[in-house]
Amino acid sequence: MNMLVPGMYVAADSALHRLDPRVKMGAALLLTALPFAAPGLSSTLLISVFVVAVALLSAAPLSALLRTLRSVFWLGCFMFIFHLFTTPGQPLVAWGTMTVTREGLLAGGMQIYRLCLLVIVASLLTFTTSPSQLAHGLESLLGPLARVGLPVRELAMVLTIALRFVPVFFEEIEKITKAQRARGADVRSGRPWQRVRGWVSVFVPIFVKAFRRAEELATAMEARGFRGAQHRTRLIELRLTRRDLAAALFVLAVGAAALGMDRWM
C-alpha cells in the first residue's frame, strides 16, 4: 500500500488508543456536532485547540491526518461557493445578479473550517480505534435498542467484517491496477474511453474477488459453527476505567464551555 486510506486503523500505543471505544465514539460525535452547534469564533477556537491536543496525543502522523482532508476537497469547494453567493450582507464584488459579500466570504471560510474539523475528528477515531473495538463499542452503545428488536449484534458483526476488509480491498485495487498497467491499460492518462476501459479492467476482477471472498468467509464461519449472535461470549470485554470516565467528563466540559462561550461572550 502506498497511502494511508482515510479510515484506516494505525496500530500504536497512545493515550488515545487505550481509551474505551465508547468514550471515543461519544466524544467524536460530540466534537463533530459541536462546531455546528456553537458557531462562534471563540468557541471554534476552543474546539480547535482541543482537537489539536487530541491529535498530538494520538501518535498519528500529522501529514497523514492532513492528507485525509483531500477526500472532502470537492465537497468543501462546493460548500464555499454556495455560501459565498447566498449570504446576504455587505457586497464586495458583483457580477450581474451574483454578489459576493463579506459575510459570505466569512461564512464560507468557517464552513470549510468546520468540515475540516469534522474529517479530522472522524479520522482520529478510526486511526486510533481498531475495527473490532469500533464494532464492540457500537454494539454496546446500541445495546438498549436490542430490546425493541433491532439485531444489534448482527449489525455489529456486519460492521466488523466490512471494516476489516477495507484495507484488503484497497490493496487489491492497487495490485490489479498494476497488473493491468503492465498489460498497457491506461488508468491515469490517455483518452477518456481508454481510461474507462482501464477502470473496467480493474473493477471487474475486484468485484469477482469480493464475491468469492464473501462466499469463502461465509463457509468458513459456518464450518466453525457460527450461528447468529445468540449466547456468544466475547474475547474483548469493554470496561470503563477511571481514566475513561475522566476523559468523558473532560470532553463534556469542553463541549459545555464552547456552548457557554457563544452565549455569554
Binding site: M1, V10, A12, I176, K178, A182, R183, D186, P205
Partner: protein
C-alpha cells in the same frame, strides 16, 4: 534490452507508522537474452524489485534504467521501453476480467494498438504457448475455467504482448507438479526461440535450477549473492544462513560427500545427481575390484 538497477531503495507508505523498506540499495545488471532466477525468503523484496523492472513503482531512491531510460518516467520514450517488458504478478488469474478467453488475451495487444488480424494471430499463438488449445478455448468464459487453466490464460495475456523481457513472479505457485513442469518447459522453449530475457521469481529451487542460468539472491532488501545458478544454489551454508535450503539433489550429494563419497555437489537437477552418483558408484566398485 539492457536493464540496469542502480542502488535502488523502496519504502512503502513512507513517513507513517506503517512505513516499510522493501529494498535497500539493490544493484543488478541484466543483459538481453539472459535467464535469471530471483530467489529469497518471503518478504525479501523480490516482488518489489520486479515491479520496479516493469516501471510500476517509483523508486524512493536510486534508478532503474531500461536501455538508459528511467523505467517509471511518464515520457513517451519511457512508456515505449516499458511496453517491451511483460510482467505477470503473483496469482495473475486475479486480473482476469473479460467475457471470453479471446478478449482477455487480446486486451494487451489491443492496448498496443495492433490490427485485428495481428491480434487474432497473437491470441492463438499465446494460448498455444501456454499449452491451451486455441480452437477450444477462445469462446469460453474465463471465470468458468479451472484454476490451472485460468493461470495459463492469464499468462497468455502477458505473453501475447510479445515482450522482450518476460518477468514471471511465482508463475507456478499453486499448480500441480506436472502443470509446473510443462509450463516451465514451454516458457523455456519460447525464451530460447525468441532470444528474450527471462526473469523468474520463485521459492522453488529445483525450478530455478532447471530454468535459470544466473541466480540473484535477495534477503531483507539486499542482494546477497549473484552468480551462475550452479554456484549459488550449491552454496548450502549461505542459503541456509538466510533461511533457504539447497535443492534436494544437492543436499543428497552433500550427505554422500560427508560419508566419504567422491562426488561433486554442484549437480542441481535430479537427473544430474543420478548420473553423478552412478559415476561415483562405478568408480567405487572399480576400486574394490582392483584391490580384491
Amino acid at each position: 534490452m539492457l536493464i540496469q538497477v542502480d542502488h535502488l531503495f523502496h519504502t512503502y507508505t513512507p513517513g507513517t507508522p506503517l512505513a516499510h523498506t522493501a529494498l535497500r540499495g539493490v544493484s543488478v545488471e541484466i543483459s538481453a537474452g539472459e535467464r535469471i532466477g530471483i530467489l529469497g525468503p518471503t518478504g525479501s523484496g523480490k516482488s518489489t524489485l520486479v515491479q520496479h523492472l516493469a516501471g510500476l513503482l517509483e523508486p524512493t531512491d536510486g534508478w532503474v534504467w531500461l536501455d538508459g531510460v528511467a523505467a517509471h518516467e511518464r515520457s513517451a520514450t519511457a512508456r515505449a521501453r516499458r511496453r517491451r517488458v511483460g510482467l505477470a504478478l503473483q496469482y495473475p488469474e486475479d486480473q482476469i476480467f473479460e467475457r471470453t478467453v479471446f478478449r482477455e488475451v487480446a486486451f494487451g495487444p489491443r492496448n498496443l494498438g495492433l490490427e485485428e488480424a495481428e491480434i487474432a494471430a497473437r491470441v492463438r499463438w499465446a494460448l498455444e504457448m501456454v499449452g491451451l488449445d486455441p480452437a477450444a478455448m477462445v469462446e469460453r468464459v474465463p471465470f468458468t475455467l479451472s484454476g490451472g487453466e485460468m493461470r495459463r490464460v492469464a499468462l497468455a495475456s502477458i505473453v501475447s504482448l510479445r515482450p522482450e523481457v518476460l518477468i514471471l513472479d511465482e508463475p507456478t505457485a499453486g499448480l500441480d507438479p506436472r502443470g509446473r513442469e510443462e509450463l516451465l518447459a514451454r516458457v523455456l522453449a519460447w525464451q530460447k526461440e525468441a532470444g528474450a530475457t527471462l526473469i523468474l521469481v520463485s521459492h522453488n529451487l529445483e525450478e530455478l535450477a532447471r530454468v535459470a542460468e544466473r541466480a540473484v539472491v535477495l534477503t531483507e532488501g539486499r542482494v546477497v549473492a549473484d552468480g551462475p545458478v550452479r554456484q549459488v544454489l550449491s552454496d548450502g551454508e549461505s542459503l541456509r544462513s538466510i533461511g533457504l535450503d539447497v535443492p534436494q539433489p544437492v543436499a543428497l550429494l552433500q550427505a554422500l560427500r560427508q560419508a566419504g563419497w567422491e562426488v561433486r555437489t554442484d549437480r542441481l537437477l535430479a537427473e544430474e545427481a543420478v548420473d553423478e552418483i552412478a559415476r561415483a558408484w562405478a568408480l567405487r566398485m572399480g576400486c574394490r575390484r582392483e584391490s580384491a
